[in-house]
């Protein structure tokens, strides 16, 4: 029987008013820490080792406490594409260590750079159950969706 084992990828597309080289740069240097976590935050540290197999790690201090992001670069194609893993840090302790993958595609477009972000391999139902988060009770979410 068919069941949906992996979640669907999340895809977001934006036109950014900046040259592609510059957009690539802010994704692939410690400047990443300046914008990647929305809301009030203070950058504690950020490291970027831009090579396939290299890691990035960002530590922020936010209103909700310290937040850590990190992962490994899987593909670097300057200035068109970056593929990296995304490891859930201590901000979501019940999923800490879970790995997903983010692809950032950058294309030149009139007015700037077309950024397409694809986040795939997010935790699935099985993982959620493993962590004791049952989905009993309300079907509100489904009702909203259908």
């Amino acid at each position: 029987m068919n069941t949906i084992e992996t979640t669907q990828p999340l895809v977001i597309s934006r036109l950014i008013k900046a040259p592609r080289e510059r957009v690539f740069e802010v994704w692939t240097t410690p400047e990443l820490a300046q914008w990647i976590c929305p809301g009030e935050r203070r950058v504690v540290s950020s490291q970027v080792d831009l090579r396939v197999g290299g890691a990035y790690a960002i530590h922020l201090e936010t209103d909700d406490g310290p937040v850590t992001f990190g992962g490994i670069y899987r593909k670097i194609q300057k200035p068109a594409q970056i593929v990296f893993t995304w490891v859930i840090g201590d901000c979501l302790p019940e999923y800490a260590g879970h790995q997903s993958q983010v692809t950032v595609d950058l294309a030149e477009e009139k007015g700037g750079t077309r950024l397409t972000l694809t986040h795939e391999g997010l935790p699935n139902a099985e993982l959620a159950e493993k962590h004791g988060r049952g989905w009993n009770g309300s079907l509100d979410n489904l009702e909203k969706q259908v």
Binding site: N2, E5, I12
Partner: protein
């Protein structure tokens, strides 16, 4: 793996792309139903409803069990809900981050690193 998930996604979306099937799922969200009862509110023949049910079943959105001659249907919404929750979580996160990125680039149009080569002319 990606292909598999995309195929599953296609199935889900095509299954959800029909108003009758969405109504069926909604009915099932209130509990288990017999196919015959499910057909009632829709001005539709039993075979027509059964066809919709099969599509939903193939997409993994409902489960069928048999008791004698009767088929009982049950919603299998957990994977979908779980997916929706995570997607929502990260959508919010990335939308916020990309807003921030746009703002950041507006106020920092040029690279801050001094050893960076001067900006090249735009490629034609």
């Amino acid at each position: 793996m990606v292909k598999r998930s995309e195929a599953a996604l296609d199935l889900t979306f095509s299954a959800l792309a029909d108003p009758t099937r969405r109504s069926i799922l909604k009915s099932l969200s209130h509990g288990e139903w017999r196919v015959t009862d499910l057909a009632e509110p829709f001005a539709m023949s039993l075979p027509a409803v059964s066809k919709h049910v099969s599509v939903l079943e193939k997409a993994g959105l409902l489960k069928r069990s048999r008791l004698g001659r009767e088929h009982y249907l049950k919603l299998e919404a957990a994977p979908m809900r779980q997916a929706a929750t995570w997607i929502e979580h990260y959508r919010k996160f990335w939308e916020g981050s990309l807003d921030e990125l746009a703002r950041y680039l507006e106020s920092n149009p040029v690279s801050p690193t001094s050893n960076q080569k001067p900006k090249k002319g735009k490629k034609a």
